[in-house]
């Protein structure tokens, strides 16, 4: 007993020593990233750390709203965040971003021309494109084999899918889907129409299994849910684990999102953050990210580095005739309040 204990302690000590030695003795600088969950391959962070002699750490969040709430709560110390399109507009308006002029960086020439003058940051003074994609839902074709290209799957599910639907824990994604299903405009403050949205959501809730964003893939792969809202790249990864999952292009419409790297106001390591932006605009690195996250890169020239999986995937290559996805701008504060009211009412 004592002998085993001793050898156990010895090996533990050795292991610990090895761990300590394996750490870079002392990196020249630091970079702290606040990113969406499951949205960045570790190898890419390691590569950046090695090339620039920087210690990189990353924390994660599960919605644009959580990011905003944390920043407004005065959370400090992060250099980089990855907000979606409308959230970039809000963060700029709230003075939470550092104007680092990515458009002056050496790799900016690689950015796709049509996403330079975007509404949320025209000319790209604050942000550079990270990944873009669509938000829709998937259905397990072994459970339900009918037509899935309608939001009725979520709001009026066929018998096979009742009680087996997961929706994203994200007020905008859910309310926007409901608005599309009812044929109402987005960023809506019409009380009569919002009342209908509210009633639709309340009526749909008994058919839903759960509200889950970071588990959106897991819940489909495990079979707990047979239909679930999901972002296209995450959905592609889900299909790799469960081939019977089919990504829907609902005829009523779907959301396009565009995530961006930004530098936060008061970032302790602005220079490293700018280096990271430039690093991510290099086609090879943008491709490594795309091969992991499986959305679409905002940078040209990634083609030769992309994995074959992406080339034919219906999740990232919409079939002919599929509805065109739509970017939803940030809504008026009054509308935001109404949406929040509907959301809390739904979750009560």
């Amino acid at each position: 007993m004592t002998r085993t204990a001793k050898s156990w302690i010895a090996s533990a000590t050795l292991g610990l020593a090895a761990l300590i030695l394996a750490q870079p003795a002392s990196a020249a600088g630091e970079l702290k990233i606040y990113n969406w969950f499951d949205y960045m391959p570790q190898e890419l962070l390691d590569k950046f750390a090695k090339e620039n002699d920087v210690k990189v750490t990353m924390d994660t969040y599960d919605s644009n709203e959580t990011l905003l709430a944390r920043l407004k709560a005065g959370v400090k110390g992060y250099d980089i965040a990855v907000p979606g399109d409308y959230m970039v507009a809000i963060l700029i308006q709230e003075g939470l971003l550092e104007k680092v002029e990515p458009n002056q960086m050496s790799n900016f020439k690689n950015v796709k021309k049509d996403i330079v003058d975007v509404y949320f940051d025209s000319g790209r003074h604050y942000s550079m494109p990270y990944q873009y994609g669509t938000t829709s839902f998937m259905v397990d074709s072994t459970v339900y084999s009918g037509n899935i290209d309608t939001l009725g799957i979520l709001f009026n599910p066929p018998a096979e899918l009742k009680g087996k639907v997961n929706v994203l824990k994200d007020v905008n994604e859910v309310v926007n889907a409901a608005l599309r299903y009812l044929g109402f405009p987005r960023c809506n403050s019409d009380p009569a129409q919002l009342k209908q949205v509210n009633d639709l959501l309340i009526a749909s809730k008994p058919n839903w299994l759960s509200f889950n964003s970071d588990g959106a893939k897991e819940v489909l792969v495990s079979g707990d849910a047979a239909a679930g809202m999901i972002w296209n790249g995450f959905g592609l990864r889900a299909r790799q684990e469960k081939a019977s999952l089919k990504f829907a292009y609902p005829k009523e419409g779907l959301t396009m999102f565009m995530d961006n790297i930004v530098v936060l106001k008061g970032a302790p390591n602005v220079e490293n953050a700018k280096k990271f932006m430039n690093f991510m605009m290099q086609p090879e690195n943008a491709a490594a990210l795309t091969n992991f996250a499986m959305y679409t890169a905002g940078v040209e020239g990634t083609g030769p580095f992309l994995s074959d999986v992406l080339k034919a995937a219906p999740e990232v290559n919409p079939p002919a005739g599929a509805t065109k996805p739509e970017l939803v701008p940030p809504c008026d504060p009054k509308v935001v309040k109404l949406y929040d009211q509907i959301w809390t009412n739904l979750l009560k």
Partner: protein, 308 residues
């Protein structure tokens, strides 16, 4: 605590008694300062915030308002803008109380026999049993809760076993229900019930039981009229230790309940995250705290009266 401060600051200096008092005050000061700084101050903020106006994108504006408390009971109709009584938040509180109460009773039902069993082992074995009770606590609550989800899900081992032995044809829906939340709460807080009851039963003088048998008392009578009354302080402590954290829990409802039915903890968390309404989150926290305090005071009074 109040008594200790009294000893420290009252009376004249110089006497040995006072020196002891000062010493005690010094010893207590780290704890008192910690409580003052990390408990009283944040609670003060919460109270102040609950009477302010919320900023559009989170944060607060320094404008006095009782909206947060009004919102708790009334909602402004989206349709007509008039204030209507709404039980939305009351129902969240109601659900939380029922869940916490159910968890407490289940913990008692499982915990009391367990504690009794441990306390009646030979003294040399008891610490080993107590040690076993605490083993799950070596693992983070979040990880334990997620593991629970893996076990109870449709394609998890429980349903697999039930189908294999032919009790059910299709998976029993356990995950993502209120029952799963209760299961999670019981699993999370069971040791809080076992340990105080164990401490009480261990001190129980078993000669009282022999005396009762001699007087022809049945097993049920002995349990209800001797063991339970004497171990009551342990039971009350255990019940409070399970009930209060269950009331505010938010991991179990979020993960095991699928985030579908909010409990108070989730409601408060939501106000500081997605909904960005700090004053309302603060008000909900203040209301919860007040209710808990009132319950505790009533309890303490009744206990004190019974002791006299």
């Amino acid at each position: 605590m109040a008594g200790a401060i009294g000893i420290g600051i009252s009376g004249e200096t110089g006497s040995p008694r006072n020196a002891i008092g000062r010493g005690r005050a010094m010893l207590l000061s780290p704890a008192l300062l910690t409580i003052l700084f990390f408990l009283v101050c944040p609670l003060g903020f919460v109270l102040v915030y609950s009477f302010l106006t919320s900023g559009t994108y989170g944060g607060i504006e320094w404008i006095f308002s009782t909206d947060a408390y009004v919102q708790f009971l009334f909602e402004r109709d989206i349709f007509s803008q008039e204030l209507l009584f709404s039980n939305a938040y009351l129902s969240i509180f109601g659900r939380s109380f029922l869940q916490a109460l159910a968890a407490t009773m289940a913990c008692f039902a499982i915990g009391f026999p367990t504690a009794y069993f441990i306390a009646t082992r030979p003294p040399s074995q008891r610490s080993a049993w107590v040690f076993l009770v605490t083993v799950p606590y070596w693992i983070n609550l979040l990880i334990r809760t997620v593991s629970m989800l893996f076990i109870i899900r449709d394609e998890g081992p429980i349903n697999y076993a039930l189908i294999a032995i032919g009790i059910v044809d299709e998976p029993l829906r356990i995950a993502y229900t209120d029952f799963a939340v209760g299961l999670g709460l019981v699993y999370s807080y069971l040791p809080f019930m076992v340990l105080p009851i164990y401490a009480a039963v261990e001190r129980f003088d078993f000669r009282l039981m022999e005396a009762a048998y001699d007087l022809y008392a049945g097993k049920w009578t002995i349990l209800t009229r001797i063991i339970l009354p004497i171990t009551r302080p342990g039971i009350v402590a255990g019940a409070l230790l399970v009930f209060i954290p269950s009331l505010g829990s938010f991991i179990a409802p979020d993960l095991l309940g699928g985030g579908k039915n909010l409990m108070i903890g989730n409601l408060i968390a939501l106000q500081f995250q997605g909904s960005r309404n700090w004053p309302f989150g603060s008000a909900a926290a203040v209301i919860l705290m007040t209710i808990v305090l009132v319950v505790l005071v009533i309890f303490a009074r009744r206990q004190a009266r019974q002791r006299v």
